[in-house]
Symmetry: C2
Subunit: 424 residues, 2 copies
């Protein structure tokens, strides 16, 4: 490398702001509200814009059948397994402008900054923008990285149905990706275990710890194990005036008990690493004067310890049995995903510590309670993650915020470690 790595902070911040304009969300007073659901017009516009940025830089660009986007800077020995970085650009409804995007645009800037130093990397360096890290549209997160790592069956994936549409009008992933221009067999998305030499993802913490401790950078040593469930509560509908209370089997009242049961048993573990969230509650028919006949809840439950996570589910299932009998409702449980935790590569963690030391930073080693595409890439490659602080630990909200200085430092450390890994 002929000169020092210089991150173009102004350009990176401007690109983050531009990416935030590809949104279906209305402006709000408390920050920048971003809604960018996978394969929506805004997502497709954001992809086209990102490709243009990469092409302008002379990088190679390719999409796979599920729409994962690969931006490659060829190394001097292009047949060696590449070093990779990346994240996602999709955003849940009314989210913020840093989640995922910092890892994608930061990864691009890291590659550009290395190029500006005059470096010719030995191994190729590849930036990946994963399809549908967020579960908003198809009810399951990390679609792209699950398929890359062979964690999700391609046929099952193509049959996934839009989660927030009625069963009879919902489209499948196969239909939606084809309409978006991503065709071909999903089985072709899977990459071999030796395809990447190493993987490193830059991401905002989405928690309060770095800010609380006044530390500008975190090194993720493990990623918590997430699980997703869908509960359907079926009762008896009817007119809100005429269906008498003793005759009711109100699906929403039963669902309310289920929501509180989940909260109660999660708190009962007294473990800080156990978190459970019912994030959606869809009521059918959903009219003010109609007794709810059916309610669908989606549960997200995570733990660093999968056994403890399962013990919470067992306690909830005992409550469901009791609820079923007492309220004469039907409650079905559908497992959407249940994943094992991931450990970071000690070697990449060591390189991160070296680079931090060279920058005079004492990084915080930490667990990621949020899960990321890195969780799945860990099945096929050595991984690690860099966290940067986010204000008040807030994420998935318009007021999500990371400072330009922290963002720039994260990109600089990312670039340095990518350079080291690419020289191996």
């Amino acid at each position: 490398m002929t000169q020092q790595i210089q991150i173009d902070q102004a350009r990176l911040m401007s690109e983050l702001a531009t990416l935030a304009t590809f949104t279906n969300a209305e402006p709000v007073s408390e920050g920048t509200s971003v809604t960018r659901v996978v394969f929506s017009p805004d997502d497709l516009r954001a992809r086209a814009w990102l490709k243009q940025l990469a092409i302008a830089e002379g990088f190679e660009v390719r999409d796979d059948a599920v729409g994962n986007l690969f931006i490659r800077w060829s190394g001097t020995e292009p047949n060696l397994p590449a070093v990779a970085t990346g994240s996602h650009t999709d955003a849940i409804p009314h989210a913020g402008m840093y989640d995922g995007t910092v890892g994608v645009l930061g990864g691009l800037e890291a590659m550009r900054a290395l190029k500006r130093t005059g470096l010719r990397p030995r191994r190729s360096i590849e930036l990946v923008m994963f399809t549908s890290e967020e579960p908003t549209r198809f009810g399951i997160g990390c679609l792209g990285s699950r398929l890359i790592s062979g964690t999700l069956d391609p046929k099952q994936a193509d049959a996934l149905s839009e989660a927030n549409e009625p069963a009879d009008t919902a489209h499948t992933l196969a239909q939606v990706r084809t309409a978006a221009g991503f065709t071909g067999d999903l089985a072709s998305v899977k990459l071999a275990p030796n395809h990447y030499h190493a993987w490193l993802e830059l991401h905002i913490e989405q928690g309060p710890l770095l800010e609380r401790d006044g530390i500008p950078l975190g090194i993720v040593t493990s990623i918590a194990a997430p699980a997703g469930y869908r509960f359907t509560v079926s009762g008896l509908g009817g007119h809100a005036g005429a269906l008498l209370m003793p005759d009711r089997k109100d699906a929403l009242c039963a669902a309310a008990e289920l929501i509180l049961s989940i909260e109660r048993h999660t708190l009962a573990t007294r473990a800080i690493d156990t978190v459970a969230t019912v994030g959606t509650c869809d009521v059918h028919p959903g009219a003010v004067n109609s007794v709810p006949s059916r309610v669908v809840l989606q549960l997200d439950i995570r733990d660093t310890d999968p056994t403890r996570r399962e013990s919470v589910m067992q306690a909830v299932r005992r409550d469901i049995e009791e609820l079923r009998q007492r309220r004469s409702v039907i409650i079905t449980e559908q497992l959407i995903n249940a994943d094992a935790p991931a450990q970071s590569s000690p070697h990449i963690v060591e390189l991160l510590e070296e680079v931090c030391a060279a920058h005079g930073i004492s990084p915080k080693k930490m667990v990621s309670r949020a899960y990321h595409d890195s969780l799945f890439i860990s099945r096929i490659a050595p991984i690690a993650m860099i966290f940067i602080p986010c204000r008040n630990g807030v994420s998935h909200r318009p007021d999500e915020y990371a400072t330009p200085a922290d963002t720039t430092l994260g990109v600089e450390v990312l670039a340095s470690v990518l350079a080291k890994l690419a020289s191996e």
Copy 2:
């Protein structure tokens, strides 16, 4: 009257079936699913079709500024206050094909049947199809009859906002009715207390009592007092993985407790006439991996005794106070409507009993726990209602059903009493 009243059952059933085709609902296996929200394309098509039926019969047709439709058969003394009947044709999502429609198409057939006997009524007979009896779109039921009776302030009505749209994209009633072609000052909708001589509405029971007792016809002697509230629960949003359980102010968990509090205090009255329903539960941001920051619930609570209804609300408010403090959430209550019960006119009830006796029927005198446009028309005219049985007491569902025989009998009794009232 020169000959006996003959109801054209085949035509009436065929018209009910045709009206059910103006729907935004998909077909379902368990019955005819009807969704016809006020001023939707299907509602407007249904109105145009109904007008054609009336015009073909030689009746006069007029709309008022909120879209109430008046179909008039002029009497020999057209300046006398008219006798009126009618109901509504709008339908909540995934409802059935009898609620409201039996009173509108049945009323039309009653007028046609009287005309076929050669009758020239002394007073005019008027059929009214009310706008938005269902609260689906604007969060408040009986919009048309509230305005006719002066129960709702015209300016307040025009400012009503679409209940199921985000605040920043919701349209007002003023905007929606104008776009639908109903213009002019809403104040002009109100009718004088002497405008109608009498009012009689035919409707399905929407409850199980007539079927249970094997009685083909009910005479409504009073209508229960309904109230509508909207609760907004505001907590703290965040990422489902990263926001730790002790730091949470989950709006959906708080809403779940509120739902159960409402149910508990309603059951605690031990009164069969107290019913309360939370029919909608809108979660923001509504993503599986996001902690709910805001939940909006709509409550419908009814009682024949408004004091008992208010005592339930007071008990719920005490729970809300406790919830606010324990969960650090904000809960706001908005009163949508709170109406007094209505009594039927003893004179019309007496005429109904006479006609039933002449038909060899022992009708059931009953309370309507569902409310109807008749509740509001009672503020400006003597009213009564005729109920016909509906299978299993089911309403607001695709499997809602009334037999052709019961429907025809209801129309026949309606026609007979309209003729008597028109001769007064």
